[in-house]
Amino acid sequence: MSTDVTAPNPAPAPPGGSGKAGADGLARLMLDGLRRNMRQYGMLIALGVIVALFAVWTSGDLLLPRNVSNLVLQNSYILILAIGMMIVIIAGHIDLSVGSITAFVGGVAAVLMVEHDIPWPLAVLLCLAIGAAAGAAQGFLIAYAGMPSFIVTLAGMLVFRGLTEVFLKGQTLGPFPEGLQKVANGFLPEVGPDTNYHNLTLLLGLVLVAAVIWQEVRDRRRQQEYSLEVPPAKLFAVKLAALTAAVLVFTLLLASYKGAPVVLLILAALLVGFGYLMRNAVVGRHVYAIGGNLPAAKLSGVKDKKVTFLVFLNMGMLAALAGLVFAARFNAASPKAGLNFELEAIAASFIGGASMSGGVGTVLGAIIGGLVLGVLNNGMNLVGIGTDWQQVIKGLVLLAAVGFDVWNKRKVGS
């Protein structure tokens, strides 16, 4: 039992308090908010620190527009996998097969498009369905036959890796149709007058700022309508300003190069969609419930088997998407594609706040965890650290992130 449950925090100043509180009061409010949401903000701060560190170390190269653009492209498939993996881990399971499914779907895609000349949009749909089927097969064994996910997906990892080799006959296969390449590797089209910036990206950035502000304000107003307590206006303003600044800086960086990559839009859609699903949809709640306490969830009428099944089906589909993006980016399907992707995705989830016992984590956390790894990779490449030491450092970062979490939890008391 912790003391901070009942002990009133000294910090919260009365909403719209006297002018005397001033800047001092605001800083205190922010610190207070931070402390209460250590879990959520901890990794965001860590990401900021890592970015700052490498920005200095590479004398600014890390934040060059071209590099930022590259960062997005390089990490897109891991981030896609991390979203699905986070949901699997929240449900209290693990999926070791995603790297192999990524390769498998890449192989199938190449066979369909390169050897059989099937139009790429149709082939993409087919590949997503195949990924979903692979996930569903594993999900069935886990949810309904009651086999441990570790074992089922370990088997899946072997099976799909082997099948990839069979399909591709051990060869790499390419190239992919141009349309698909543009999706995986391309940027939004150039429109409008020449402004030295990518116009469409700027526009999108502004729309995004407007959407964020609108959403936040609406949320706040609805909370007030329900006569619920809302954070003080000053804190709200600071939050909005910070969000706006972050979006604008990122937009400007991308816009001063070739604009926003197409996969960034896909990623954003996935982040918003799955974030919403996990946070607001009934089925998302059920995922948290079965991961947090399975017996209690069952006794609450949650259809645990169906939910588990769907979680793995979804993971398979996302793995297929990652496989398509990966294959198209390198313009070839290779039997060795996606090696260790499952481990990267799992590491991203745990860095991003997942818990081994399930029930904890957010989709945004998975993205942040994936970005921590991505920036580390990219930054270490820029400063010329060899892949040998890169692995050591990434391992230590994973340990540190989870160690911090364990320590933080113990401090709060359980």
């Binding site: 039992m1 009133p8 307590e229 607001n280 949809a281 709640r285 209690a296 969830a297 009428g301 008391g413």
Partner: protein, 516 residues
């Protein structure tokens, strides 16, 4: 040695917020079988944990003298070295190791770290013969019944040169035949000079094996009686266990007059359930109960009586193997094959084990409250978080859940407040029938009163309440009607006016052969 073998003097043990033992004195004479009895929560198990060093010296007050020496055990190992061995209700055996391996677990027959299997098997066979266990020593423990597993535990104790054997409700999970064998063995060991303490609330058992009995109530020693003395009747023991202090701990309740003619809100007919693993064992045996709208009906029974199993098996077959019986809601038969079915039919079950079955401890109050009825705060599969927050804020206020906001993780709350969250969760499903399983277990007196008030209000609103409890005062204080259960069977039914603690306890401690 003429003095007592064990003396525990004025033991006081406090947990945060609860005084589990307030003044317990226990004196055990050498070579006797000493029974300890008392209601659930009277402090029996805590006392034995103090004795065995689970609660180490320094975490309690008072002193322990064993064979004349003052003992300050720092852990279980220390007490076992003195020859005090406890066999807990939940057996501590490794199912996939053999009998012989289990007997010598932690005490391996080895020289310089290498196990001598010949010695292990030889000594294991010897010990098994002593306890009358007729199995091969290399049989896996998972492959023998609970009764035999109990014998393995005793053999394990004997291997440690036990001088004082403590058995915590040893027959709770056993059938009649195995129970009888076990009791015989305890008497045999007594002949061999082993002193035993047996915790039990089966009075016929106590009369059969014990020489003296110490009665605990509310963490105090009430009295120690000589079982063989003429004055020690079952009535005497029962009155010791329940005490006489029934004070105003309940809301004033106007007893409900059931509307004649209308069908009961919930009726369970001839319900039989088998144990999920040991499928020969009937855990619930041909039980029929009913409860009307506005009525609070109690189910009294001690541990192992099958009350929870009855409730959970009715609530979506959440326990055991269903072997027969029907459930009627408002006079028509309903199917409650899954929990979702049961909830849809307006049945709610508030578990006795809120940490394991009731709550997602790492999640917040609002999300726990809404979980069973998310549909009520969602539109087309999307949860309206504002509505959810409003609803749970409402419960926080009306149920007086002590937390600054509804975004507090329930794991941080006290037991009483957690219980209020579980109750809120099920009230939010809008049930017609609430099955409350030990709703006041492990919470303090103040919170208990609040929960009684809530229950009373629910009944006044016309809901039917089945109230499972092993605390007789609260059943007598709250219920319109009380059923008693023992060993899986219904053993009695009492109207509010005719129920007394003595009468209930008599039916609750009844064994099968006496009943029919």
């Amino acid at each position: 040695m003429a003095g007592p073998v064990l003396e525990m003097r004025s033991i006081v043990k406090t947990f945060p917020g609860v005084k589990a033992l307030s003044d317990v004195t226990l004196t055990v004479r050498p070579g006797e079988v000493h029974a300890i009895c008392g209601e659930n929560g009277a402090g029996k198990s805590t006392l034995m944990k103090v004795l065995s060093g689970v609660h180490p010296h320094g975490t309690y007050e008072g002193e322990i003298l064993f064979e004349g020496d003052v003992c300050r055990f720092k852990d279980i190992r220390a007490s076992e070295q003195r020859g005090i061995v406890i066999i807990h209700q939940e057996l501590a055996l490794v199912p996939y190791l053999s009998i012989a391996e289990n007997i010598f677990l932690g005490n391996e027959q080895a020289t310089r770290g290498v196990i001598s299997w010949n010695e292990t098997l030889r000594r294991a066979s010897e010990l098994m013969r002593r306890v009358g266990l007729d199995e091969h020593p290399q049989t896996r423990v998972a492959d023998i019944g609970v009764g035999k597993q109990q014998l393995v535990e005793i053999a394990k104790a004997l291997s440690k040169e036990v001088r004082l054997l403590v058995l915590d409700e040893p027959t709770a999970a056993l059938n009649d035949e195995d129970s009888a064998k076990l009791l015989d063995l305890i008497l045999e060991l007594k002949e061999q000079g082993i002193t035993a303490i047996i915790i039990s609330h089966k009075l016929n058992e106590i009369r059969r094996v014990a020489d003296s009995v110490t009665i605990l109530r509310d963490g105090r020693t009430i009295e120690t009686l000589d079982v063989k003395a003429a004055g020690t009747t079952e009535d005497r023991i029962i009155s010791g266990m329940i005490g006489r202090d029934l004070d105003h701990r309940f809301p004033d309740r106007t007893p409900h007059e059931p509307e004649a003619g209308s069908a009961p809100a919930l009726e369970i007919r001839n319900w039989t359930v088998h144990h999920p693993i040991d499928q020969q064992r009937k855990v619930v045996d041909d039980v029929s109960v009913n409860v009307r709208r506005g009525e609070i009906v109690g189910i009294a029974g001690l541990m192992g009586a099958g009350r929870t199993e009855l409730a959970m098996s009715v609530f979506g077959r959440a326990y055991g193997r269903h072997a027969g019986g029907t459930v009627l809601k408002d006079g028509t038969e309903i199917r409650t094959r899954t929990v979702a079915d049961a909830v849809a039919h307006g049945i709610a079950y508030v578990t006795e084990d809120r940490k394991h079955y009731g709550l997602n401890l790492i999640d917040t109050i609002n999300r726990n409250i809404s979980l069973s009825a998310l549909g009520k705060v969602a539109r087309r599969g999307v949860v309206d978080e504002h509505e959810e927050r409003r609803v749970s804020e409402g419960f926080r206020k009306t149920m007086n859940i002590k937390a600054p906001t509804v975004f507090e993780p329930v794991g941080k709350l006290s037991g009483g407040n957690q219980q209020k969250v579980v109750l809120s969760k099920w009230i939010f499903t809008g049930p017609d029938v609430l099955i409350l399983d030990e709703p006041t277990r492990g919470i303090d007196v103040g919170a208990k009163y609040e929960i009684y008030t809530v229950i009373d209000k629910l009944a006044a609103e016309g809901k039917a309440v089945l109230f499972i409890s092993s605390e007789l005062p609260e059943l007598l204080g709250m219920c319109d009607r009380i059923y008693t259960m023992a060993a899986g069977r219904l053993t009695g039914e009492f109207q509010r006016g005719e129920a007394t603690q003595d009468a209930l306890m008599r039916q609750m401690t009844k064994d099968k052969e006496v009943t029919r």
